[in-house]
Amino acid sequence: MEAKKTKAGDWRSYQRVLLPPVKDLHKLDVYEKHDGYKALREVVTTDKWDPTSVTNEVKKSGLKGRGGAGFPTGLKWSFMPPVNPEIPRFLCCNGDESEPGTFKDRQLMEYNPHLVLEGMLIASYAMSIKTAFLYIRGEFADWITLMEEELEKAYAKGYVGKNIMGSDFSCDIVIHKGAGAYICGEESSLMNSLEGKRAYPRVKPPFPAQKGVWGYPTTINNVETLACAPLIINRGGEWFSKIGAPSHPGPVLYGISGHVNRPGVYEYPTGMLITDLIDEVAGGMRGGKKMKALIPGGSSTPILRADMIDGVTMDADSLREAGSMMGTSGMLIMDEDVDIISWLRRITHFYHHESCGQCTPCREGTGWLENIVTRIDEGKGNVRDLDLLLDLCTQMEGRTVCALADAAAWPVRYTITRFREEFETRCLKEMAPSGGVLETA
């Protein structure tokens, strides 16, 4: 077995950059004292930067999207068509954050809101965008109020709006309040929601860069992704690319929840060993119990058994090899007492509730997943239900407009394949009194 090796280097002495330890950093004057809006000033007022060089710097940094899919950000920005003064272009910052297990963007908005705003403005500059939307889920009412207050202060100081800092670059930021729909985190349904429609995802292509909100070129990035932009401008893409795992670099906010002693959001480089994160960062398992399983990045990423995480690091490549995904890096840690079947039942309930109802495989499939998993959980299941579930997953994956059907099917598929014994035991236990119809080999 290969030795455990972290890709995060000397992470114990890591200095935070997204959420640096500064008292009251969310206030504009404190933020200004700590290099706040310095990157934006440099970008819009000096000749050193033009839109292409900003995009290139982000490309050089190797920044990958932090919203789940992990798409290279610089590349995404370069997909925007050439500027045509007659056609407006838009940026959407995705703060919908509804993937169960994910709670990092909220902390960023609470403790460093101006970094998010500055990142949005730099991205807008790089793509010559004049209107940027910040979509925040409706449940975060308090954080929306906070962001609006801070945005107003930024407007008053001339950081947002017309001719930013005396340059010829103008950009408005509009904060859009959602109203409670998981699906709005999907980029095309977020666009529909912005347009004031039911948040049904759209068929791709055309991709948002060609036809986005109101049919105009649009780029959609996660809150945390955009918050990295000012850091890249200030310290250079090369500095950024050297943090953490080479193939998936940068600082990342790990949201650790579940049965650990110190749950919460932690900022560390990518490529942290999962075992380090649990044992050292999050203070170990609660009550000294053993770990049973974990979810590395939100509810739709495949579950990993405790015996599968040796030497696995939190970056796209290592997690793919281990059979999972980086997702949103919202980790859920489960201890040995967890009933994996009733846990899965709750997840299937979530997806059934959140399916938007546009595509049949998802609308019906999520319901059937819930029904069958519930039947098994209640002890009325049959072993062949497990294969029925897997078959159902196959029928759902990749057959819908958006990835919600896949996201709903994966937890079922991987929980069953990775904990099959437990499912079979639950089924068989209840079959026995009726005469032991099923024989076990």
Partner: protein, 224 residues
């Protein structure tokens, strides 16, 4: 046809329900109209402002019966059907009358593992109603919510689409319900980052009075 299909598969809403809001109260003030205009001006088309408009109406009228949706649609200048479609799509818009305080108890997986259902059942028993129901005095509605994005401080709940209450336990729920009965809604609570606790000795925000930390997290008696 016989009686094969006895009732619609989906309960259809009543087509013409009696208005729940009296006609003379069904108006926006000039300030509110001005606010709507500001929102409309921020989007390329008026449609974009519908979600904000519905939020404003819900805060004013408490919920969104058809006549209120019509009012918002007229104010924003979009067809009623569009506004109705939006209002019925999103879970946070209340289509029927709710209690004065709506308790959204999160039971999605992090909260489930940390005792979210214990809290839901405890509140159900204490108030004598099931989830989705309103108490007879009209004070409380209990709802089971999907992930509210506060998994690090599970179990938690949200009060009427507003403040979050983190790290719930029975004592906290008791105190919260007593406070809500007296109309005392808890203030915004900041959850301290564990790294801030190590490096800065506590929460970094000096302007927040109510602070939570992982260290006060309850351990549920019946972890699932």
């Amino acid at each position: 046809m016989g009686d094969f299909i006895k009732h619609p598969v989906v309960d259809m809403p009543e087509r013409m329900p009696a208005p729940a809001i009296e006609a003379d109260k069904l108006v926006f003030t000039d300030d509110e109209k001005k606010q709507m205009k500001t929102w409309v001006s921020r989007y390329p088309t008026a449609d974009g402002a519908i979600m904000r408009g519905l939020w404003l109406a819900q805060e004013k009228f408490g919920f969104l019966p058809p006549e209120v949706i019509q009012l918002v649609a007229n104010e924003i200048g979009i067809p009623y059907a569009n506004a109705y479609g939006v209002a019925t799509f999103y879970t946070q818009y209340f289509k029927e009358k709710k209690g004065k305080h709506v308790l959204d108890i999160c039971t999605c997986f992090s909260c489930q593992l940390c005792g979210g259902y214990d809290m839901l059942h405890y509140i159900e028993e204490k108030l004598g109603v099931h989830k989705g129901e309103t108490t007879k005095d009209g004070l409380f509605t209990i709802q089971e919510a999907e992930c509210l994005g506060a998994c690090g401080s599970a179990p938690m709940l949200q009060i009427t689409n507003g403040p979050f209450v983190h790290n719930l336990n029975k004592e906290k729920v008791d105190a919260l319900l007593d406070a809500l009965k007296e109309d005392k809604i808890p203030a915004f609570t900041s959850v301290t980052l564990p790294q801030d606790e190590d490096e800065m000795g506590g929460n970094r925000r000096s302007d927040v009075s109510s602070i939570e930390s992982y260290s006060v997290r309850p351990v549920s008696e019946t972890l699932s």
